[in-house]
Amino acid sequence: MALDKQQLEEMYRRMCRIRYFEEAVIEIHSSGELIGPAHPYIGEEAVAVGACTALEDSDRIAGNHRSHGHPIAKGGDVKRAMAEILGKSDGFCKGKGGSMHLADFSIGILGESGIVASSVPIATGAALASKLGKKGFVSLVFFGDGASNQGACHESMNMAALWDLPIIFMCENNGYAITTSYRNSVSVEHVSDRASAYGMPGILVDGQDAIAVWEATTEAVRRARAGEGPTLIEAMTYRFEDHSLGLDRIRKSAYRSQEEVDEAMKRDPLKIHRAAMMTHAFSTELECDEIENTVRAEIAEAVEFARNSPFPEPGALFDDMWATPVKNTPVSQSTRR
């Protein structure tokens, strides 16, 4: 373990940032301010933070519908993330993407995807660009146990291993694809067992332990940068909340027992990391509390910012369609009509 106190504290700060951000989203949703769906990342914070701590700013990430944790872990601005979720003009995507599609290209966040596994080929292509253009960055893609069954995943892993691409496939195995259990949908014991079929290392890691995730990712990043190719990491984690805010029918479903949820919640990634900070870096209770308090204030400020941000003007509807606008693009046509 080669993380210093400052790094460990930064990891805790980012984990708290995700947790409190999600709590704020849940609160905003219950008050009726948030219209669309949102998928809380609570319980899985150690995966995104452990993984992103092993990355440089220039490295690229892509993710999925459970989308708030990844960009925050990569260093994304919580004000602009919250504004996006509320559909405001100051959001990452000017209110056009919403909760499931956060992206900030300026810090390597190539976007979350509402279609499960759809961003896996995209991240593979980013790694291809890095290799062909000798750009030196690595690419890391977050996807779930459900996504691991999509063809896009298998095709991407095959290409990445075939071409020795600098990519890390980070499977967040939270046990359920909405309500379908991992046991009922994956034919092998672990998703990471599949790595051998593509000729890449498959690493199984405790996804509730941010340091363990960081260690596994650090080795995978080293491999990628050295031109040794991709790694599949499977982080075993658990979704503490329901699949999605607003899907009450699923909320009441009995697809997982209360005992199972209670048992899983005993391994709260924030508590595990807080304890690790005390053991490894001799952080005090007071120092930990201070991080929490600072982040709480930061999130309150983000909510305030997002609420005060204006909605996009109707005139913005046709903006951002074309990178190279030309004569007779459909935008000008529809204004003509």
Binding site: C93, E155, N158, D320, P330
Partner: protein, 327 residues
Amino acid sequence: MPVKTYIQAIAEATIEEMERDESVFTMGEDLRQSVYGATAGLLERFGEDRVIDTPLSENGFFGAALGASLCGMRPIVETVTSFLWVGMDQLISQASKMRYMFGGQAELPVTFRIRMFYARGAAAHHSDRNYPIFMNTPGQKIICPTNAYDAKGLMKTAVRDNDVCLLFEDGIAISSRTEVPDNKDLPGGELLVPFGVANTVRAGSDVTVVGIAGGVQHALDAAKLLEPEGISLEVIDPRTLVPLDMETILKSVERTGRLVVVDPAHKMCSAASEIAATVAQDGFWSLQAPIQVVASEQVNVPYSPALEPLIYPTPEKVVAAVRAVLN
């Protein structure tokens, strides 16, 4: 002026763009052996890194091309219309939507070169003419060159464009040979054809006939058949369907008062439907007869040579449609 084939024109455009810009590379199935003709010699010229033979994984490598384009590369992907279905998630969920959904952050300079075979006994799985599907998913430019000149000029424009370009290479147009000037004889030293500007292939006064892809040739053939009768067709090739130059079509209809649209795609929700609907809406008072659409029948492509030719537009069907709008 030298006469070139459509495939030669595409090959020239590819080589010129790869030489001009190091970020341009090609990927697809069987490129190195040039199974479809347009990538011959690229491997020797540019090496393995820039001429990539992919596994049979359309969803995977379409997405990889998009991802590479987000990070400064400009991929040219070669594929076939019927294989687009296999990679549809990447083409619709990502290629079409990514830029807008991310508030304009994404630039996706990918050119998909899509060979469109039909009318050659390949049956339903290898005869798709599916460009209209993508007219219904905002966010991609759709290019249908119908001769070697446009193939080269539009292809070069596509590679330089920062949006996803789907360039459909029509199987009927591919066999054509047309004059393509050498670069040294061009004012700017190279051939670039802009998007969104229709080409009036043949000027005429009685009926406006808009041809899509291979439909242009049928329209020209029909014009020849009707010439002895003194019937004059104005043949317009939109060249790009997104963006679509309706202005040129509407102006022509203003003069002729009559419109026939020829489209090898299936009739329902075709490019022809869109053009006919727009003229009905915006050019209604110019029309002197109901618009006629000559498109493929709304049935799957049958294998038997006794059946397949029945479904596509033909010069004879265009002639009949012209007679209908003149009566």
